[in-house]
């Protein structure tokens, strides 16, 4: 049975085309890796198509078995993976819950519980080959039924806060808000076929996102750590919210994969003050930081810790709530954007450790990024526009979390708006208060992690009515263009539509999106394999400690 349109070579026809583009310099290697692997090529095939040998996994050192790695991380109460809203929740559960596919720092997608997958020419049918020899830690075999079960539960849009439903796109029936009948079919014990109503290139990539943890069929939608049945090599030992979470090697379970060197992984909650993390590092209480920002980067360099940097499309969305006055007026939103020079925000808010963005939430590292004319900064025009909209004396308010860089970024935004002669008040709230009402704030900042494709974030955050649309942005032309773009596997063709989509984002003044962040992690020089990941994923099986 051959479902892939690849002339018998096992490689999707588009990959050869992409490789040519990459060599010609039209596409960066990173973009090529993301796109080729989304079409089902393994990393080795993808590198091969480029005429390069796949980089060998650090061959100089042999990983050492055993040891404990301690990292600081906020430890949060567990809940249904579909409703996860924090990468931290996933990182603890990753010890025993694995993923269908995995997104790597080099931009490639690697099959995990799904060994490989292929798309038909029109990108409307996805055939997934389930990995053989995988067992759950209760002894059950992992089969196509588990895959069908998980995809079906991801599609259940009736569950409050289930963000996976948006990622599954066309598999969800708009009427019943459940998986469409016949869309997910089991071919045999190790093959599953997905049939999409329209081509969608993001589904497989969406399965690598952190809420896509694969759970057992007996899972009851409660705290994942209470009854930890999973396929992974570790088990939770301690789960103290706000204090500590510990994963230990599950010696009773034969894990299918290679690696999982450490005996023990401890996550220690040090609160939100980065100074406490420095003190813990100096006292040898932790071996690695979850992430390190701004002024603390040089401090960690000075104490001799090893740094790893991930270039990402992660950002801070200083967004307007389009249904809340006074930001229901597009003129006001545009004026705010006009008053702010994003270069200044990057410099003051994030110490220049990133790249300037253009208020449309599509990053130059995304394959379909289209370059638009540079933004115009015009404080005088901004003041005039605000006055014209009847808000000359209104006091605006910008709310942010009391997290160092987020507060600094909002301060830089507000200061420029103030310099333009517009009245604005800054409010900084602690996490416990901020998150209670964050969807209602008229003007506030939300952190966004990176997604491998530009269309993914737009579909998650700005499409009308989706779960994570916090701007209440509602634009028919945008929705229509985005749906069309998501059906185009060829990034060059998609770019044509993206140009208009990016323009709509700017014209409608959806948000102030000042910069793209680089992420940093610092580790004790003994730590290996725990480099920063662009989407904060912890791949525990790769971690080890040098003697």
């Amino acid at each position: 049975m051959s479902l892939s349109p690849n002339n018998g070579t096992g490689v999707h026809a588009a990959i050869g085309m992409y490789a040519a583009e990459c060599k010609a310099g039209l596409m960066s290697r990173r973009e090529f890796m993301t796109r080729a692997s989304a079409l089902g090529a393994s990393a080795a095939v993808a590198y091969g198509a480029l005429g390069l040998a796949a980089p060998q996994a650090v061959a100089a050192e042999t990983p050492v078995m055993g040891g404990t790695l301690r990292m600081n991380m906020e430890t949060r109460p567990g809940k249904d993976p579909r409703t996860w809203d924090w990468s931290e929740l996933a990182n603890f559960s990753r010890g025993w819950l694995e993923y269908m596919v995995e997104y790597n720092s080099d931009g490639s997608l690697v099959g995990r519980l799904i060994e490989s997958w292929s798309l038909n020419e029109a990108a409307t049918e996805i055939t997934m080959n389930v990995r053989k020899g995988v067992t759950w830690n209760n002894g059950d075999a992992f089969t196509a039924d588990d895959v069908v079960h998980n995809i079906t539960r991801w599609c259940d849009a009736n569950v409050e806060g289930n963000s996976m439903a948006a990622r599954m796109g066309g598999l969800v029936d708009a009427e019943t808000k459940q998986a469409k009948a016949g869309a997910i079919t089991k071919i045999d014990d190790h093959t599953v076929k997905l049939t999409l109503p329209a081509p969608d290139i993001t589904i497989i990539v969406g399965m690598a996102d952190y809420p896509a943890a694969v759970v057992h069929q007996s899972y009851d939608n409660g705290d994942t750590a209470l009854n930890p049945i999973g396929t992974g090599p570790y088990l939770p030992e301690v789960d103290e919210v706000g204090v500590k979470q510990v994963l230990v090697k599950n010696t009773a379970h034969k894990w299918w994969g290679e690696g999982a060197y450490l005996d023990r992984i401890e996550y220690i909650d040090l609160g939100t003050d980065p100074a406490a993390v420095v003190a813990a590092a100096e006292s040898d209480e932790i071996d690695a930081t979850y992430r390190t920002e701004g002024d603390f980067v040089p401090i960690f360099q000075s104490i001799g810790w090893a740094s790893s940097e991930a270039v990402t499309s992660a950002t801070l969305a200083v967004r307007f709530h389009h249904a809340a006055a006074p930001f229901d007026n597009v003129k006001v939103r545009r004026a705010m954007q006009m008053a702010v020079d994003n270069n200044v925000v990057l410099e003051l808010g994030y110490g220049g450790m990133g790249q300037v963005a253009e208020n449309h939430h599509v990053c130059p590292i995304h394959p379909e990024y289209a370059k638009l004319p540079p933004l115009v900064v015009d404080p005088a025009g901004a003041k005039a526009a605000v006055a014209e909209a009847g808000h000359a004396d209104t006091e605006f308010e910008l709310i942010s979390l009391d997290d160092g860089w987020q507060a600094a970024t909002c301060d830089a935004v507000a200061a420029q708006i103030r310099d333009a002669g517009i009245n604005i008040k800054r409010t900084i709230l602690p996490g416990s208060t901020f998150w209670n009402d964050w969807l209602k704030y008229p003007f506030s900042a939300t952190e966004w992690n990176m997604r491998p494709l530009g269309v993914q974030v737009l579909a998650l955050a700005y499409k009308s009515g989706v779960a994570w649309n916090e701007t209440a942005f509602n634009n028919a032309e945008f929705d229509e263009k985005l749906t069309a773009a998501m059906a185009i596997a060829d990034a060059d063709k998609r770019r044509v539509l993206m140009e208009r989509i990016e323009q709509i984002m700017q014209e409608e003044g959806v948000l102030i999106q000042p910069y793209w962040r680089s992420l940093f992690r610092f580790t004790n020089p003994k730590v290996r394999g725990a480099e920063m990941h662009p989407t904060f994923e912890h791949h525990h099986y790769k971690w080890w400690m040098a003697a």
């Binding site: 813990a280 100096e282 208060t433």
Partner: protein
């Protein structure tokens, strides 16, 4: 004496009731209930979903009634879901509603369940209070002898060079807030800035195993602040006693200065500092918040902050009960100790 104790106990119960009702009332105001619903059922739920969640989880009845449920004098709420399942305050997950008790409150020995930590309040408070207890014990062991010594040395010859220098030190330490002295101590003794690294700048590991290395800095940070304060009180009290007629008489009789201080002045001079020390204990219980946060030592103060920040009603109530008990018990001890130090005072 028995009557005195009984009266004190009654005061304690009345105060605990008043305080917990106040806490209960404020944490159960509608916006705070909405906050609970959102943190439990997801931050993106609609207002209608909030209302139905609150109704399903026993938050719909009146405040006094729910307070009664918490006390255990009113039967716990019950709710029947459309598919016939009965849930309720007193029905633990997986138990049969028919055999579950009707009452389950403080009167029945049940302090409730924490929404944030997903654990019974009594076990959280027990654990965290124990951790803070160790911290307080160490602080008291350092603070009391050192501050009394400084106070007595400074106060026995008011105005001399020793008094001036010790007073300057005590004022300086009291005037330095903990978040400043803590950071200075960490920088000096636990960082690469000076390279000393004698101690650890975090007390994370002290939660499992207290060592000299990981516990010195937090204890010093709190002690420094309290030492100056108590030393100043002791000095004032000592200086006043030293001007009393009977001290002058003793000195004129030719008693050695050492004996005057130790045998005649000390006991009288200790009355005021004793009260201050007893007042410091409840202050320590809540005042350790800053130090616990700075050194990442998750004790009672930290629990209180987390409970308040997340509007964790039952945990907050538990914390207030503990606070009332600690305040009143230390005051009781201070009254008893008073009578021992000063025979003129009788407990009536």
């Amino acid at each position: 004496m028995f009557k005195f104790l009984l009266r004190r106990f009654a005061t304690m119960v009345v105060m605990a009731l008043c305080l917990t009702y106040a806490v209960f009332y404020f944490t159960n105001l509608p916006p705070n209930l909405e906050k609970i619903a959102k943190s439990e059922a997801g931050s993106r739920i609609t207002d209608a979903e909030v209302d139905s969640w609150l109704a399903k989880n026993g938050y719909a009845s009146s405040t006094p009634q729910r307070y009664g449920e918490w006390l255990g004098v009113v039967p716990g709420w019950r709710n029947t879901t459309p598919d016939g399942k009965v849930t309720g305050r007193c029905i633990a997950r997986g138990t049969d509603p028919a055999v579950a008790p009707r009452f389950c409150g403080v009167a029945q020995g049940n302090m409730g369940f924490s929404n944030v930590f997903k654990q019974p309040v009594s076990s959280i408070i027990g654990l965290r209070l124990g951790l803070t207890g160790w911290l307080m014990l160490c602080v008291v062991c350092v603070m009391v002898p050192v501050s009394l010594l400084i106070g007595i040395l400074a106060g026995m010859r008011e105005g001399n060079r020793l008094d001036r220098s010790l007073s300057a030190v005590s004022i300086a330490t009291t005037a330095t807030p903990e978040y400043v002295s803590g950071v200075i101590l960490i920088t000096l003794f636990a960082s690469s800035v000076t390279g000393l690294k004698w101690f650890k700048g975090t007390a994370t590991s002290a939660m499992d195993n207290i060592t000299f290395e990981n516990f010195t800095l937090p204890v010093m940070t709190i002690s420094l602040y309290a030492i100056g304060y108590i030393a100043r009180m002791t000095r004032a009290s000592m200086a006043e006693v030293m001007t009393a007629q009977y001290i002058r008489t003793a000195r004129l009789k030719g008693v050695r200065f050492r004996d005057v201080v130790l045998k005649h002045a000390l006991r009288n001079a200790l009355i005021a500092p004793f009260t201050v020390i007893m007042l410091q204990i409840p202050w320590l219980l809540n005042g350790v918040v800053i130090v616990e946060t700075l050194f990442n030592y998750k004790g009672f103060g930290w629990t209180l902050v987390e409970a308040a920040g997340n509007n964790d009603v039952e945990l907050l109530l538990g914390c207030s009960v503990v606070a009332v008990i600690v305040v009143l018990v230390t005051q009781l001890l201070s009254d008893l100790g008073y009578a021992l130090l000063n025979p003129r005072i009788r407990l009536a």
